[in-house]
């Protein structure tokens, strides 16, 4: 990781996410914001760790005697949530700074409201948004989201790197595209790209040499104000812009065809693919000693339609290799309608729509595609392997909350609300304290609905980072619309699950924003902050609050074991 700042051209082994950071630094990024989420977390973590050496500053000082804010290098922050992170980025971009915003797929949903107008206004300072999907949900509850939908919804360019080298190169290219067309550019990764390591060849580092930069917001109502009727003109301008970017995509070397001349020799077969799927295809063609023309797309949107039409026009059969929903397959179908209506298009007929692809899945599909018999050894061998669930760490303060609840109530008579954070492990045996689970902040919102719909007892959990992220509006709703769940805010003073990043209640170097005064200010009368190590007090309060006619809140205040040990090390 320390190697990430080396300035000599050389090969360094980097994680996909680290390579994105390197690419941003090579492009001379000036403003970075993020909310942690696996598999995107290491982008923020890396900026956080290298901050000092990279000249990244966490706080900008007000220049004495001047109203302008100034700073000496790129700025980095962990924002309160992804919407705020993007909005911070939008502000920086409007002020002319080169900006990067990173998040996992669900973060895209959180910031969608701000993202769509940003497509209309466009970026001023070049802006790149990283969105990381997690096919197979290795580190994601809630849904197996495919962020490709954003391309059509927002009309924003989307690039899909396959490995760490491309993560770095595509990030730089994305900044160039954004600069040229004044539009934010999305880079979509997946777990196997973001968490892949390989030797990456470096280019020169720009940001260390960059001079003191000051952003400047220049008033431009026509550009930044999405008020009707101007907003419709903006949409028209955006669509025109996309067609210009499509021309760029047609010529771009990241949309490349391998072995095009082989089509006649090989009974006119072809493969279209992108991202990690391309690496599996390459692997398999080697394995089977096959030479088939392969179109590797670097742009998912806008697609180089002419180039694709040209590729498919003389083919008989094409295999579209992509993970999750058949976005690419549908596009190829549309284009084939115009270019080659006899083309047989095969995709999800041979490949799953649920779960990530693996080399052996792709090899079976390719073998069927070329009508070749191919068996993989041991695939059907049944070996009984006991399932090992992830567990709360030994010494985790949440164990004390669980034991207090089990002492205080009959768990079969109470509904337990869950959401995203370490406490989603409450759903695993032997704890089994989770009756519904959805996205961040939702446990409180859903609790209100259940309380309104039924008279059943309900305890819901929300983490400290999650409370700041999206829990506060839901808490206000329980007061405003009068329901009475018992909300337990698990304040372990860190964003633990994603790797102990700071949050508003627990920033790195200063005192955090206190949770109890916020809860009181929302109008909650029954609120108590208790260290759950005091089991007696905890059990008593749970029993008492569960009988209240109004919403009640317990703030279970005990730091994560890792927060403790960090403090002790200092």
């Amino acid at each position: 990781m320390d190697n990430i700042l080396l300035n000599k051209p050389q090969k360094v082994i980097l994680l996909g996410n680290e390579a994105i950071v390197r690419g941003a630094l090579e492009a001379g990024v000036q403003f970075v914001s993020t909310y942690p989420g696996t598999p995107a977390s290491e982008i923020g973590n890396t900026f956080f760790k290298i901050a000092k050496d990279a000249g990244v500053y966490f706080e900008r000082s007000e220049k004495q005697g001047s109203s302008k804010r100034s700073y000496e290098g790129p700025y980095f922050e962990f924002s309160t949530n992804e919407k705020v992170a993007l909005e911070a980025g939008i502000g920086a971009s409007f002020s002319g700074l080169k900006t990067l915003v990173a998040m996992k797929n669900f973060g895209l949903n959180v910031c969608l409201d701000s993202l769509l107008p940003f497509a209309y206004t466009g970026s001023k300072g070049p802006t790149v948004i990283i969105v990381a999907d997690d096919p197979s949900c290795h580190s994601s509850a809630q849904s197996e989201e495919n962020s490709r939908f954003i391309a059509e919804a927002a009309h924003l360019p989307v690039l899909e790197p396959a490995d760490s080298q491309e993560c770095k190169d595509f990030t730089k290219l994305a900044f160039q595209i954004s600069e040229k067309f004044k539009i934010p550019v999305i880079i979509r990764t997946t777990t196997r790209v973001a968490h892949q390591k390989m030797p990456v060849i470096f280019d020169e580092l720009k940001s260390q040499n960059s001079k003191v930069q000051t952003g400047q917001f220049v008033k431009d109502v026509k550009r930044f104000v999405t008020l009707p009727p101007r907003v419709l003109e903006m949409k028209k301008e955006l669509l025109d812009k996309i067609e210009k970017i499509r021309e760029f995509s047609e010529k771009s070397s990241i949309n490349k065809i391998k072995n095009q001349k082989l089509e006649i020799k090989n009974s006119r077969l072809g493969i279209i693919t992108s991202g990690i799927s391309y690496l599996y295809v390459k692997e398999i063609l080697n394995e089977l000693n096959l030479e088939i023309p392969v179109f590797k797309l670097g742009f998912f949107y806008p697609l180089p339609e002419k180039k694709i039409k040209n590729f498919i026009k003389n083919l008989k059969k094409i295999l579209v290799v992509e993970e999750l929903e058949p976005y690419l397959e549908r596009e190829v179908q549309k284009l084939a309608h115009e270019a080659n209506c006899k083309l047989e298009i095969i995709g999800k007929k041979l490949l799953p729509e649920v779960g990530e692809l693996k080399p052996e899945i792709v090899i079976s599909a390719v073998a069927k595609f070329i009508n070749k018999d191919f068996k993989i050894k041991n695939l059907k061998l049944k070996i009984n392997t006991p399932k090992r669930f992830p567990q709360l760490c030994p010494g985790c303060p949440y164990w004390l909350v669980i034991s207090a609840i089990k002492k205080a109530v009959d768990v079969n008579q109470v509904i337990f609300g869950g959401e995203i954070g370490c406490y989603m492990l409450f759903g695993n045996p032997p704890i089994n304290l989770q009756d519904y689970l959805s996205c961040m902040g939702s446990s409180v919102g859903i609790a209100h609905g259940i309380k309104k719909a039924t008279g059943q007892k309900l305890i819901t959990f929300v983490g400290d980072s999650s409370f700041f992220h999206a829990g506060i509006p839901a808490l206000i709703n329980t007061v405003f619309n009068k329901s009475n769940p018992l909300i337990i805010i698990l304040n372990n003073q860190t964003t633990a699950m994603t790797g102990h990043q700071p949050h508003p209640g627990a920033p790195a170097n200063s005192n955090g924003i206190q949770i109890e005064p916020i809860v009181r200010a929302c109008g909650v009368k029954y609120v108590k902050t208790i260290d759950q190590a005091n089991q007696e007090e905890m059990v008593k309060t749970i029993k008492e609050f569960l009988e209240k006619d109004e919403v009640s809140v317990i703030i279970a205040d005990h730091p994560c074991v890792f927060v403790k040990s960090q403090k002790n090390e200092k």
Binding site: K358, K377, P390, Q391
Partner: protein, 193 residues
Amino acid sequence: MKNKNNEFNIVIVGTGGQGLIILLQVLSEAALIEKYDVKTSELHGLSQRGGSVEVHIRFGKKIFSPIVSASKANFVLALEMQESLRGCVFAAKETKFLINQFIRPIPLIKNLSEKEILFNLKKITKNVEIVPAEKICQEKLGNSVVSGIYLISYASFKNIIPLKPSSIEKAIKKIIPEKYLELNLKAFNLAKQ
């Protein structure tokens, strides 16, 4: 030992907290030292918390996929005995298994005994070696946390992986933080014997 495409595929299995990602870093750095192309795949987040962890490393002339295909592993390293069974899908008759003699019990269910585990593994390959790395490191170094480093060093000294011990040693020096370096080098040297 390398397959026809002149590449070597390793799958490491274990449980969260056993330091699998550090092992990947050491092995990939050693492969780079020997001028191989190298790719790895790892998982973060949920899988860290005491759950099953499975990581992949492939090196050779030119590597595309970061994950090992089913039945294509040359070598499976298991840091926990029950987890070794999760390596089976990547194994074939020729695959070598090196297993840490250590069982981390799974709560509330019937765990498998060493005998049952071996019975299952032998359905796939006879090439299974169990090493009491946990015990050796605890007895000789007073710390079993370096069992993984001991085992990859062992695999290098015994020519199970085609990476020279000197490359592994160099990689350890590059990857392991100063504070823990001495202990890790001791584990490396212990594997020589």
